[in-house]
């Protein structure tokens, strides 16, 4: 058991949860404003790819990170235009974006690197550095847990900020209002579609940060479809967390923990690997069905708003 439950498990949980938390927060801004965002996966891929490519050319991961945010905003603008301006079905638009970003990186990397999806591997000093908070020689446990990428800290700070923004600011109140009852918000003089644009755009920026964490933080390259479903898990975490930032964060940490435990159980416990790899998902279903109770989405979620 000591092979599984020790400080490296905590470190691993945090690392695995970070991209999920960033994407789930992204989903929260969009869905609280009433726009379903199953495009999180595509937005993460856009961010991951852009971050890797820009870093290859500029040799600076920070510029890569900023470009990822720009790419996320661009993709989100696409989703927002389709669903808000043209009132397209939100699920269809999101699916289209996800499919699009399976292909776009392959196309662009073909033009840039004569590859079909993968970018060249970056040297370690050109990826996002670990925060040097503790000395790994003198305190390995603390260093392993706290010496993380800056994006890890950013993710947790953003959770706190989101709680404040959503529940304590006028912007947050309006965002929730257009997600719950756009007609009433409109009557009260809130620009429904403007708020929704804001929500979706923030969503894209955050999801792209989650993607960039994968390509230039945790790893040093982009490969095709490297998010491997993390955008969908983030979406599940958002629902699991009842569209509340802290709830979503806890859900992401839970997924991260389940995966970290599964990683450590493989090979140490005499259970077939296929079963171990099911654990995170089985736990999710059990918790969703039994413990969490009903998760009520924002009332106007998925409904485009047309001013009468």
């Amino acid at each position: 058991m000591r092979n599984i439950f020790n400080y490296t498990l905590i470190a691993s949980t945090i690392r695995l949860s970070t991209p999920l938390i960033l994407a789930a927060l992204g989903g929260l801004y969009s869905e609280r404003a009433g726009v379903i965002n199953i495009a999180l996966e595509g937005m993460m891929l856009a961010g991951a790819f852009t971050a890797a490519v820009v870093t290859v050319f500029t040799h600076n991961p920070w510029i890569g990170l900023l470009s990822a945010v720009a790419a996320g905003l661009l993709v989100a603008a696409l989703h927002a235009m389709a669903t808000i301006k043209y009132r397209a079905d939100q699920v269809v638009s999101g699916t289209a974006i996800n499919i699009l970003f399976l292909g776009v990186p392959a196309l662009l990397s073909g033009a840039l690197f004569e590859s079909t999806g993968a970018t060249p591997q970056l040297p370690r000093d050109q990826t996002l550095p670990d925060a040097p908070i503790f000395n790994p020689q003198t305190s390995p446990a603390l260093a392993s847990i706290f010496n993380q990428k800056p994006l890890v800290y950013l993710a947790f700070i953003l959770v706190a900020m989101t709680v404040y923004v959503i529940y304590r600011t006028r912007f947050g109140l309006r965002l929730r209002a257009v997600g719950e009852n756009p007609e009433a918000a409109d009557t009260a003089g809130v620009g429904v579609n403007r708020m929704r644009y804001a929500g979706v755009l923030i969503s894209g920026a955050l999801a792209a940060l989650g993607g960039a964490y994968l390509s230039i933080g945790q790893n040093s390259l982009f490969t095709r479809n490297m998010t491997a479903g993390r955008g969908f898990i983030a979406l599940a975490a958002l629902i699991f967390g009842k569209w509340h930032p802290v709830g979503a964060m806890l859900a992401c940490l839970f997924f991260g923990l389940a995966e970290a435990v599964a990683i450590r159980m493989q090979g140490t416990v005499n259970i077939p690997n296929q079963f171990i790899q099911m654990i995170p998902y089985i736990l999710t279903m059990v918790v969703l069905a039994g413990l969490i109770g009903r998760a009520t989405p924002p009332k106007a979620l998925g409904v485009a708003y047309a001013k009468e």
């Binding site: 993968a118 370690r124 994968l214 490969t223 690997n273 790899q277």
Partner: protein, 335 residues
């Protein structure tokens, strides 16, 4: 506006198909041999398995009078249409990369008995299919020995991609090689996943490697496609070693890649294409191992300072013993 968007969508959805049709039909002229290759999910720039197959056909294209077309399927369901499209356009030699294409090639080959097919890593029971099998366990044994001689902690790691018998072959060979050197050595092993997404998840590969290095491993052998590139990232971050697979990956993270277990898919594919061009194509099972250099390990300018000469001598001796049958390496797929 709605109709405009609809037309756009229809065009987009037709685009890849339309494009492919034109490509397949083009250049039907001349006496050139038409070679089509359908890659595995990892894609041809995985710097590993598919990349090796790709470099084989590219070399053939340079040396031989062939027309080459390739397809990288985005998901498993698009493999069969691609193979059939090549067959419909009368491609003389159609190569399927990866075990997952076994059943597909078996079917298609029966429908097109006049065409020739190549299948890598699986056996198709049809006389017009050349099935290429590799004795990965033998090469894994040798890199397992190098790993054991290099390890200071007495703990090694193995990270596999998808949890399937083919990859177990790498694992057991590696473990046996390590134990041949040091019977008490511990070998940790992890698999990225149980679906084909496991080949394309470097984030998870990195995390598995982190966990193994933290448990004391100082050399990790990866057989995980693109996910293995995450293992290399971890090796660099922890300042430990990793071992590459299929293609020579020593260059990817110089100084941290101890060696690579080479599966010379490139040579095998090249020679089959050459046979086809010269009219000497032979169906059936072709086996590549240490004895015909189909399997080997990489020593080059990136890693020669990492492995002492006496270790290489011992490994070379073991190689001779395996070929002579004095050392028996378990083939996990034969069980």
């Amino acid at each position: 506006m709605k109709t405009g968007a609809l037309i756009l969508l229809v065009c987009l959805s037709l685009f890849p198909g339309g494009c492919a049709t034109r490509d397949f039909a083009a250049e039907a002229e001349g006496a050139k041999t038409k070679v089509g290759i359908v890659f595995d999910i990892g894609g041809k720039d995985d710097r590993s398995f598919n990349a090796a197959a790709n470099s084989g056909v590219l070399r053939a294209k340079k040396d031989l009078p062939i027309i080459l077309r390739d397809v990288e399927p985005g998901d498993p369901t698009s493999i069969e249409p691609a193979v059939r499209a090549f067959a419909q356009y009368g491609y003389n030699l159609i190569t399927g990369v990866g075990f997952a294409q076994g059943p597909i090639l078996t079917e298609v080959a029966k429908d097109y008995p006049q065409l020739h097919f190549v299948l890598i890593d699986a056996v198709a029971d049809s006389p017009n299919v050349a099935s290429l099998l590799f004795k990965e366990h033998e090469g894994s044994f040798l890199v397992g020995m190098i790993a054991a001689y290099t390890s200071k902690t007495g703990v090694l790691g193995f990270v596999g991609g998808m949890d399937i018998p083919l990859i177990h072959k790498f694992q057991t060979g590696y473990e046996e090689g390590a134990r041949y050197v040091n019977p008490n050595i511990r070998v940790l092993h992890n698999y990225v996943g149980i679906t084909d997404a496991a080949w394309n998840n470097p984030g998870k590969g990195r995390e598995l490697a982190n966990a193994q290095y933290e448990q004391g491993a100082d050399v990790i052998f990866q057989a995980a496609g693109n996910s293995g590139l995450g293992v290399f990232d971890a090796a660099e971050a922890y300042n430990k070693f990793a071992i590459g697979v299929d293609a020579n990956q020593n260059w990817v993270k110089p100084g941290h890649i101890l060696t690579s277990m080479l599966k010379r898919i490139d040579n095998a594919v090249y020679s089959i294409v050459k046979d086809e061009v010269e009219g000497k194509f032979k169906g059936g099972v072709h086996i590549y191992g240490l004895e015909n250099d189909g399997i080997s390990y990489a020593i080059d300018e990136y890693n020669k300072h990492l492995i002492p000469q006496d270790v290489i001598e011992k490994v070379e001796q073991a190689k001779k013993d395996i070929i002579a049958g004095k050392i028996k390496v378990t083939d996990a797929m034969a069980k």
